[in-house]
């Protein structure tokens, strides 16, 4: 690799870093504004122009808050849990393709790394988040955190299977694990059309994996106060929050990539790169809005309903769907 290749790579990494640092601020604010409108009340409207600086102020406040370590907590694990939560949430962005290869003096792919095991890398980074949850709940020495972590772990690992089944159906059609190649394979037909069932499985699992309503049992406010991160404060707590919102954006981006044709859309000649990124962002943000809409409109599941829904409905459907997809492929080819 020569100097320019390194420079381009460092620029891309910095761009992802800025996205990761700013996206939660914007998303939290957008969620609060949208929730406010949906519930016929004002959202945040004091700090900045009609509240647009609210989360920046919140972030500043969290940065200078005292962060406590409860008595009897496991210090090392308590220190490390937020880090292991944030790190994979950011590292997973390496494989997301934001747009096609563009020509700016040399060809630049609008992704950090086109791994030939991209899908597995995404799933692996997703599973690492479960470690953060377990470590946080175990280290806190609080009963609420303990129960929250147990629930969260069971939920995360159960829905990981559903996530995997949804992805498998796409892999069956595309014949590749690289996300860039998967997008290329959807040039003619988006995978949501032949794999609508897989899309639904992936969507449900994505909502459950990010601990969002209606699957937000790990942090059910009315019974577990905040679940596994109840003892965390200050910057550490901010890390859990950042990871949650970064994961929402990541899940939306991956759904877009796997099922909605990624950056494909009508392009303006001469500005293909720009319009492609526009389509990608538009589709991604649509799913982010869907996440917010779920939270505003759906009541929380009961825990036994959650587990039964996963093991007795989604997983059998996923397996049958996989076999059916394989059968259809043979019939078509």
């Amino acid at each position: 690799m020569d100097f320019w290749a390194w420079l381009i790579l460092i620029t891309k990494v910095l761009a992802i870093f800025v996205l990761f640092a700013l996206a939660p601020l914007v998303l939290v604010l957008a969620e609060r504004q949208i929730l406010g409108r949906l519930q016929s009340r004002y959202g945040p409207n004091r700090v900045g122009w009609s509240g647009w600086l609210q989360t920046a102020a919140d972030g500043l406040k969290l940065g200078i808050k005292e962060d406590m370590m409860p008595a009897g907590s496991d210090k090392g694990i308590f220190w490390f849990a937020p880090i292991i939560m944030v790190m994979p949430a950011m590292a997973a962005w390496a494989i997301v393709p934001f747009g096609p290869t563009v020509e700016l003096g040399r060809s630049i792919g609008l992704w950090i790394a086109d791994l030939n095991v991209g899908v597995l890398y995404f799933l692996a980074m997703g599973s690492l988040g479960a470690y953060g949850v377990v470590m946080a709940g175990w280290a806190s020495n609080s009963k609420y955190a303990h129960f929250g972590a147990l629930r969260a772990t069971a939920q995360l690992i159960s829905y990981e299977l559903v996530l995997g089944l949804g992805v498998l159906a796409v892999v069956l059609y595309s014949g590749t694990l690289s996300l860039v190649d998967i997008v290329d394979a959807q040039k003619g037909l988006w995978f949501i059309v032949p794999q609508f069932v897989g899309f639904l499985l992936f969507l449900f699992a994505a909502v459950a994996e990010t601990n969002r309503a209606p699957f937000d049992l790990p942090e059910a406010e009315t019974e577990l106060v905040a679940g596994f991160h109840v003892e965390f404060s200050g910057m550490r707590w901010a890390f859990f929050f950042m990871a949650e919102y970064a994961n929402i954006l990541l899940m939306s981006a991956v759904i877009t990539t796997l099922f909605l044709g990624g950056w494909h859309g009508w392009t303006i000649p001469g500005a293909e790169g720009l319009t492609s990124v526009f389509w990608f962002l538009l589709k991604t943000l649509t799913f982010v809005f869907l996440f917010f809409l779920f939270r505003a409109t759906l009541p929380r599941f009961r825990y036994d309903q959650l587990m039964n829904f996963c093991w007795k409905i989604l997983i059998p459907i996923g397996v049958v769907n996989l076999i059916a997809a394989a059968g259809l492929r043979i019939v078509w080819s």
Binding site: V13, E66, A91, W138, K143, N308
Partner: protein, 120 residues
């Protein structure tokens, strides 16, 4: 392997960001600790004992079931990947079905035994 270098760089940046901002806020944050403040939260009660006690065995059952199914799912990645590469798709399909049938027996057994029922 330039693509892996990129991933490692991103991970390093993520790690440095996390550790750096934790250390950075250490300089800013106040330190005013007293016994009642560092107590674990328990709705205002004084915690009686360590919270890491026994818990429901169902969580363990879920973990074991997950292990079995996750390994099974991993076997399916090469299977799904090779569907586009080989010509004899029918035998590949058949072998996948046999594998799934064996798994389905275990799944049905588990279901009948009530391992998947949460409220019993």
């Amino acid at each position: 392997m330039p693509s892996w270098i990129a991933v490692v760089i991103l991970m390093a940046v993520a790690f440095l960001f996390a550790v750096g901002s934790l250390i950075g806020t250490m300089a800013l944050k106040p330190r005013r600790k007293f016994d009642a403040k560092v107590e674990a939260y328990e709705s205002g009660m004084v915690p009686l004992h360590d919270s890491r006690g026994r818990y429901n065995v169902r969580f363990y059952l879920v973990a074991v079931t997950f292990l079995i199914f996750d390994v099974e799912l991993l076997f399916f990645y090469p299977w799904a990947l090779y569907f586009n590469m080989i010509s004899d798709q029918v035998s590949l399909f058949a072998s996948g079905c046999v594998f799934l049938a064996i798994l389905a027996v275990a799944f049905v057994y588990e279901w009948r035994k009530g391992a998947l029922d949460w409220n019993q």
